[in-house]
Point group: C2
Chain length 340, copies 2
DNA sequence: TGTTCACATGTGCACGGTCACAAATGTGAA
DNA sequence: TTCACATTTGTGACCGTGCACATGTGAACA
């Protein structure tokens, strides 16, 4: 006589209900903190839950409520410090708010790949999407697929106000630029990020704004790809010309590449050339020379991002705190007055 | 007469069935590629699905099958390059295999925080867990909570064979150590990672093994925390002594901190001291000097990791390919024969 | 004593799939 | 023609939770 294995099904609210001598609905009410439950009943139910090691079944919940409590992150270059920190911060904030996070990485940013990643998120029934990627293209695809979930992008250029978080990248870039100008530099290059990243655009804008405001003539920014390798190659070319005394790089990695190229060219930093980065990755303080850069508070960024996204969900009030987060200039040893 | 809003419920399997003139079960069969479905029927159903933009509801599926198709990642220091790359690789591999990934970050690695993160994952009904964190402690907690999901750790020390992926960290560390010995170094320090990270332990083991095998006397490794800051402070102390000619650091960030401290101490690298790192982060080639290090293939790592995890799920065959992934030594300019 | 009302709890079904089993249809050999 | 059997399709229950609605209970009040 082959005995059936006592299939260990996880306890459900009905199991709890039976043992507590109440109906399953009462258990459900306890779970959801319904106001009108007698204290004694609630205590009894909670006790049984603890005894049974009861865990609510998320799938069942999602099914009956029609809400998944999951948000999606669409991310590119997610192993770099900036994106990685943002992702971590967002996940923490989401967990705090009782949400789950699913990340879809983009290896390439072509249409097809973006579509695939978005599909993955939609199949998962995400309630909202955070975009950490070349946002312009992603938005195009979102529109094409007529996807209707609320979404949030991490940075602001000013004209996407509904969806954008006001981390003041522009102000950060102005800070960096102003620092160089104040030191006496007048011929300053900007090594920008990819044009379709909103962060890159904002930092470039900040650079141009500040140069304009201070009446310093500018040259066209160089468009990079965020990597140290690009910074290095751009540097090799730039340092052949030497028609400038400072460079503002839109992230720390490219700044590192630039410094490498400067050494190859026999130039001293900051003696011959000043360099400013952006992000303040943890390694920046240990570069040679330690890098002057702009620090962002990624933790705060993540919290705000989730707050904004949740406020866009149906049935929520608009968010209160939309003050921009201000980045901070961290002065180290890669900047100095120009040699004349 | 207020007309009810035509509540836009997503089309279900039954909607498809009605329009295709079949039963809902037939639609389900089409979805799951059941073998005995007439081609013509299948085509018709697929057509209707396309017309309706039908998307299967994941929650319903999870509920009725009792399987969530989700795996969890438990990660610490997830914005550093190593963990971040692993996470990205695992997510890609999981998506490839039709799985969803949920990441829980650990800010601190105390009992409480690990429990909270594991709870988050369990509530989500993950089918398996990948641990990228101080694994020793996590395993303790897993046991305490009597959690029964299969789990996989990213690296192997050899004695955790069921759950561990054979990335040969030990061999990588031996490669690095051997390189220093071959250059003629005899007094070599090891700056290790935190003791409860299995990667750290494996790299230390590799170092000690190789030193032993080559009959070179060793000193006790220094236990660090993976950060460049720690490398810097350790370096300040070490370079006061100078009773050595080379250091093998168990990751690139700490190596960077060491190089920073060396410059502060007026030492030339590699003239006075040789340094080897581990990971080959993209910035390592642009350090000053460019760092000799050990490269791991994170993409392959992620794929294997998922393959191993899925093979541990009930109803799967044991995995075929358990050959260890071999890391590669990348020789740059931070190592040279010792000065005598 | 009956009426009203707030509070506390119970009943039954819906959510969108899958599963076990039954039924219908087709196919070929006796 | 009939039976055996494989192929294809349908029926109804079920997974665990939340919702709408019904019901029971006791206090306050006329």
């Amino acid at each position: 006589m082959t005995e059936n294995l006592p299939k260990v099904r996880a306890p459900s609210i009905r199991d709890v209900a039976r043992l507590a001598g109440v109906s399953h609905q009462t258990v459900s009410r306890v779970l959801n903190n319904h106001p009108s439950i007698r204290e004694s009943t609630k205590a009894r139910v909670l006790q049984v839950m603890a005894d049974l090691q009861y865990r609510p079944n998320r799938a069942a919940r999602a099914l009956s409520r029609g809400r998944s409590r999951t948000i999606g992150i669409l991310s590119a270059q997610s192993s770099e410090y900036g994106p990685a920190s943002s992702i971590a911060a967002i996940q923490d904030a989401a967990r705090e708010a009782g949400y789950y996070v699913n990340t879809a990485n983009l290896d390439t940013v072509d249409q097809e790949s973006i579509e695939a990643a978005l599909m993955h998120l939609m199949l998962q029934a995400v309630e909202g999407i955070v975009v950490i990627a070349p946002q312009v293209r992603v938005f195009d695809v979102l529109e094409q697929l007529s996807i209707t979930v609320p979404f949030v992008s991490l940075q602001s250029t000013g004209h996407l106000d509904d969806h954008a978080l006001s981390v003041d990248q522009i102000a950060g870039a102005r800070l960096a630029t102003r620092h160089l100008i104040d030191l006496g530099h007048r011929r300053i290059y900007h090594l920008a990020g990819p044009q379709d990243w909103i962060e890159a655009e904002a930092r470039m804008r900040g650079f141009l704004d500040e140069m304009g405001a201070m009446d310093v003539p500018t040259t066209a920014p160089i468009l990079g790809d965020w990597t140290a390798d690009f910074g290095y190659h751009a540097g090799r070319e730039l340092f052949g010309r030497r028609d400038f005394t400072a460079i503002f790089s839109s992230n720390d990695q490219m700044a590192l590449g630039l410094m490498h190229a400067a050494r190859d060219a026999g130039l001293d930093i900051p003696g011959d050339i000043s360099i400013v980065g952006f992000d303040d990755i943890p390694e920046a303080a240990h570069f040679w020379p330690p890098l002057t850069t702009v620090r962002q508070d990624f933790g705060e960024l993540g919290r705000r991002c989730i707050a904004l996204l949740l406020s866009n969900l149906p049935g929520s009030e608009p968010i209160a705190d939309r003050e921009p987060i201000m980045p901070r200039l961290i002065v180290r040893e890669s900047t100095a007055p120009p040699a004349f």
